[in-house]
Subunit: 359 residues, 2 copies
DNA sequence: CTCCCGAATGTTTGCGTTAACAATCGAGCC
DNA sequence: GGCTCGATTGTTAACGCAAACATTCGGGAG
């Protein structure tokens, strides 16, 4: 396992010379071809080791037309969800013997997304996974007329793309129904950013659950952007409203607010903080349910009841989907390629932040 | 911008034919060589656009021996820190016109780290950034006799590697001194995993601050692994101890526990939760300071005073360092390559979780 | 003993690009 | 008017590998 002493790195021909065979035989050994005498194979392997030879990926790609690399486009890799998905993708990619090249987006506008796709195509990735669940991004993506297989992950289940996503509607229904079952007259909803499909779907699921029970449908609390900060800001407003509600004279016809389903755990944290700061108790005064089940949710004060989604699994499935797509390449005269849609079921994790309403 | 109608993608020769020039002229246009007549250049560009031509990266790499790709090895991309650094790295890489290939580690043992390096070298990355701050990983890395430039990021400032890191010791001193200044007799420390350099350095900084003030040095609270869970578990034990401490008869000679400096924000959250559950108030009964300043820290109950580190910047600097290293390649007879060490200063973010002790 | 066939190995070609070298073309100069 | 020089363009040769196409060798069938 010598290091090239500042000369050119050894190439296949060098190995061949040392092993006393032709370079083609070396190639055969490298690619596990049959019809190589074991003794020859051993000599070649020894030579490879002796020289510290490693195949040149570019040369190999040039002739095989395969790069074994995939692209992942991600908006904010800082969020727990995207970060976990990336992790799941990479783990799975390793098993399928693929490399993962990431392209982080500065913003989610059409231009930025298309640029990222372009960048990855320049690098000749064999497939692309997009973790960019915004509607504009998705619509931009649907127009990428490219021969590169493309799968969107965590982008809601209704995108016009091959996609892998958690069933947001089902999750939202789960959360809402749970709160209704506890005895709340209705459930309010702190939304995520309206431009995200996940947020839209969670809102839809929430609404559907209310309708199924004939519960009043309060105006959603809009303005969340998944961050704790916006949860906090909305919480401040809510706290004021709840204070009024204690005073019957000030009844304003709106539904009393005793239960809130938050679009995700981070906003729930912000909301929690705002309520506590206003002297309200969770779950005694207000019940809360989140979405995601980030690792910290269990240690909020109080621990957060939330809808769990398996990001790792999402990532793995997404990878599986691209690999599948890569395998079933066009083939002349193939009909419009079908778009696999994988939907993963979420589950409710019950903790202390939701309880029956007081009377 | 036509799509190849299922035939081979156009190559340089196709462009040349359409433009009525030789392929070399096309190459010159592509690479911004001087001495191409503007009119010719325009014809070539038009042809490129007409055919939807894009250069073949593999062929280019084969001859230039440059891949314009970098590898990032990361352990747990799910944590806020690593995820943010990855983001910063990618942003900066884009500006330097590099691709980023990630290699996630399943574990931090020597073997796994070396495998990752190998994988990346197979893909011919020009440089590697490691976000894997464990001592075993670092020691494995120092032995990678490779011609690939390698920079460790967030791995403490004492590794025997080119590195970019926040000054953990200074940050820990900042936190500890702040608590002492508030009037606490001493400060306890909830450590991170001992095998991480960051954790070690934070412990060192904490100890040094105590010594500088002549404050008693309590046994560190070991067992943290950066997670909220371990913070919680340690917190349970602490709570028991504090309860005893209220009873003078049970005094056990240990320092009273009124202030804790946590190795990171997540463990601080767990600790917070455990204390509250035990009926203790923060900061009235116990003051807390964290490390990292994750976006949620501001919304803990109470908001967490913590040491801020700029992960994005860390990532950018790390990228700058590798690019630098790549630029100043060996050169025959070059002396052992110097190892750049960048250390970034942290800052204290004061919030409500720390206050003067009661008497 | 010869022929045929398959296993094992070698030789040649082409992948798409850039670099090195060659050729052409004009303009300026003596 | 021939020559030189620089600007522009073309031609050829790598780059390192795998696939297609030879070749060799040995053994079994006839």
């Amino acid at each position: 396992m010598r290091i090239a002493d500042h000369e050119r790195a050894p190439v296949m021909a060098d190995v061949a010379r040392v092993a006393g065979v032709s370079h083609q035989t070396v190639s055969r050994v490298l690619n596990d071809h049959p019809n190589v005498k074991p003794a020859t194979r051993d000599r070649v392997i020894a030579a490879i080791r002796e020289l510290g030879y490693r195949p040149n990926a570019a040369a190999r790609t040039l002739v095989t037309r395969r790069t074994r690399s995939l692209g992942v486009i991600s908006f904010n890799t800082t969020l727990y969800g995207p970060a976990s998905m990336l992790y799941g993708i990479e783990q799975a990619a390793k098993q399928h013997d693929y490399f993962v090249t990431v392209a982080a987006l500065a913003s989610l506008d059409r231009r930025s997304v298309l640029d990222a796709v372009d960048r990855l195509r320049d690098q000749a990735v064999e497939g692309i996974i997009v973790i960019a669940p915004e509607t504009t991004a998705v619509s931009a993506l649907t127009q990428v007329r490219s021969d590169v297989p493309l799968v969107a992950v965590g982008c809601g289940t209704h995108a016009a793309l091959a996609s892998v996503a958690v069933d947001n509607e089902a999750g939202a229904e789960l959360a809402t129904t749970y709160l209704l079952d506890l005895g709340h007259r209705t459930v309010h909803h702190l939304t995520g950013p309206r431009s995200w499909l996940d947020a839209q779907e969670r809102e839809t699921g929430w609404r559907r659950a209310l309708q199924a029970r004939g519960a009043p449908e309060p105006e959603p609390l809009a303005g969340g952007d998944w961050s704790a900060r916006t949860g906090y800001e909305l919480g401040r407003r809510l706290a004021g409203r709840i204070a009024q509600q204690a005073d019957p004279a000030a009844a304003d016809g709106r539904e009393p607010l005793t239960a809130v389903f938050c679009a995700n755990d981070h906003t729930a944290l912000g909301l929690l903080r705002a309520l506590q700061q206003a002297g309200l108790r969770v779950p005694e005064d207000v019940s809360l349910v989140g979405f995601d089940d980030i690792p910290e949710a269990e240690y909020f004060g109080p621990p957060l009841t939330t809808v769990r989604q398996d990001f790792d699994e999402l990532g793995r499935r997404a990878l599986g989907a691209v690999v599948e797509l890569i395998g079933t390449r066009p083939g002349p005269g193939a009909p419009a390629r079908q778009m696999p849609r994988v939907s993963i079921g979420p589950s409710l994790v019950v903790r202390a932040s939701a309880a029956p309403p007081r009377h």
